[in-house]
Symmetry: C2
Subunit: 356 residues, 2 copies
């Protein structure tokens, strides 16, 4: 069951025009459109990623190659490239700063993924065995550190203090978000506000930084730079809310990772908070046992999915996501009409409608 | 049994003048002397460390406070402070760049320690329970990431591209050294050359960077900068060789961590390589079982210590350390005579004679 289907069931829609079934996947073309539009930049970025992962220590490029092969959406580097281009970044003189910084953003993200998978003990990532499952936790921690250090070497070579300030602050916020997530784990007294802080830190801060860094490279005005930061932050919030919904609502084969990961780890995400708040007393006894006491038995995931469906917790989560996506689209209003602007608007819609 | 005693037993001495028993701990006063000489700078550095560890996420300062309380030698930040001062860095106008960068160096080091303890599953660090033993592996990975990100925020604020290049490259080399150490673990075919590469990466590179960064802040000439880099690199090599000796030769109560950690983890360090090379065929069968096959039984550590003593493996390791320490001292020759220069020379001697 994909998220779009759940939406239809709950009477909500993620489409901009609300026209129903034919737009259950609005924006799907949008992200592909964005990737197609920036294909040449993105190819250059992939080359930089592979080049900069090289090391005289063989295990590093080996593990890196596994990550590159696993692919992923490459959404964050696309945002940097798109923001730079939207602000008119010109590469006719051969400079490719936006490509270098996009690679840097992907390195920071990949380092975080490596460490997350260690912290969460995940076995699957993007439909493949996770790096820690193949190479072990030690290698994942250390190669993550290497990628993080390498990202700062790229920033140093680029020599923009503004870009450095944006990305080093985002990296610190990212770590804070992950720590905060850890401390809210198994705690059903976590407020929605605290949950939103966690997802801002763990996801939206880097989306915002990826966009803002692109704007700086594109020599944006202060207003444009702020607009792109706001676009990225809201897009990131929408993206993470949908991620958290997909963990309870996705088709595992489409999702490419295990459904119910968050449940098994006792993560307190909005679907759980909503199901807990809107559930019966019996529901709350259930959630306290499985999330707070971590006492999970066979059949508990299925029971959780039923309770989530009964309380429309996925619908509530996706409605929030759509609010953020709408804010992301609005933030682009100050840019004049262009194909790229439309693609970025579509990407915000896609962030809500996606099934993986 | 301290290292100095082993040295006397093996007929070697670590003292500069070779005068025997009265100098079994040469340089002991040197490190304390260096710390005393730079006490005011170091106090300022400790304040910066505490300030910059603050975060709205309570667990971060909590875990950080544990690390600060555990203390440690603070050798790396001392090196940055000393190098800046040796090159004439003047703080009369109120600037304290050397203090900020020294704190940054300590953050990079602390982040590495946190991740090391996770990777090695260590229970003790500097005589106290390690952070991962108290706060768990997750918190150690994530707070390490936070400190690493924060160090780059400090660098960005300092705004010297040279210092950034030095410290971001050292951070990447550090991770490479750790990965290489992991891949040589349990492998007795590791060459001494490969072992030296590992310890350069995991330790000497950051010592070198700490010194070189201080020199840049002190507006050193190219020759002075290079001399301090060479001093730091050789000091770091000596320091790590002695660390590896202490793991087999130290008094655990003095050392402040578990003796035999490296042995239990199957780390291939010079004491083991030397004992393997110079041992009997029976010795080699023993080392292959305990290190390569990781089959360790009660009494094996004691047996390892005996085999190490019989082959003078500690003496061989410390002789190498003394060679590096001598090179470190020589590198300072181009600086004119000063109390600080003498203290840095003594620190090189201390790096070999220390018992913890």
């Amino acid at each position: 069951m994909g998220v779009a289907v759940s939406l239809t069931e709950s009477g909500r829609t993620t489409s901009q025009d609300g026209s129903g079934v034919s737009v259950t996947k609005p924006g799907e073309a949008g992200l592909k459109g964005l990737a197609d539009y920036l294909a040449s930049d993105m190819q250059a970025c992939n080359r930089v990623i592979v080049e900069r992962m090289q090391s005289s220590v063989p295990l590093i490029p080996q593990l890196a190659a596994h990550l590159v092969a696993a692919g992923g959406k490459r959404l964050r580097p696309l945002l940097t490239l798109a923001a730079a281009r939207l602000c008119g970044y010109d590469t006719r003189d051969g400079q490719l700063r936006h490509v270098e910084i996009a690679a840097c953003v992907e390195f920071i993200h990949t380092a975080t993924l490596l460490h997350d998978d260690v912290v969460d003990e995940s076995q699957l990532r993007r439909g493949l065995a996770s790096a820690n499952a193949i190479f072990g936790n030690k290698a994942s921690v250390l190669v993550g550190d290497f990628l993080f250090a390498r990202s700062f070497q790229i920033l140093t070579a680029d020599a923009s203090l503004d870009v450095m300030a944006i990305l080093s602050a985002a990296s610190a916020t990212l770590a804070e978000g992950e720590v905060m997530q850890m401390t809210t784990q198994n705690d059903l007294s976590t407020s929605v506000e605290q949950y939103l802080q966690v997802i801002y830190g763990k996801t939206a801060a880097l989306f915002a930084a990826a966009c803002e860094a692109g704007a700086v490279i594109g020599e944006a005005s202060a207003e444009q730079r702020e607009a792109l930061r706001v676009y990225g932050a809201n897009l990131g919030m929408a993206f993470q809310l949908v991620d958290d919904a997909l963990d309870y609502a996705a088709d595992q084969a489409v999702l490419g990772k295990e459904v119910g990961d968050d449940f098994r780890e006792g993560k307190v995400t909005l679907p759980v908070l909503a199901a807990y708040e809107h559930g019966s007393e019996e529901d709350r006894v259930f959630w306290r046992r499985v999330i707070e006491d971590s006492e999970q038995q066979d059949g508990d995931l299925a029971a959780a999915l039923e309770r989530i469906a009964a309380t429309d917790a996925i619908g509530i989560t996706l409605a929030r996501a759509e609010d953020y996506a709408a804010k992301a689209r609005e933030a682009l209003d100050l840019f004049r009409q262009s194909e790229l602007k439309d693609l970025l608007r579509d990407t915000a819609s896609y962030s809500v409608s996606r099934e993986r």
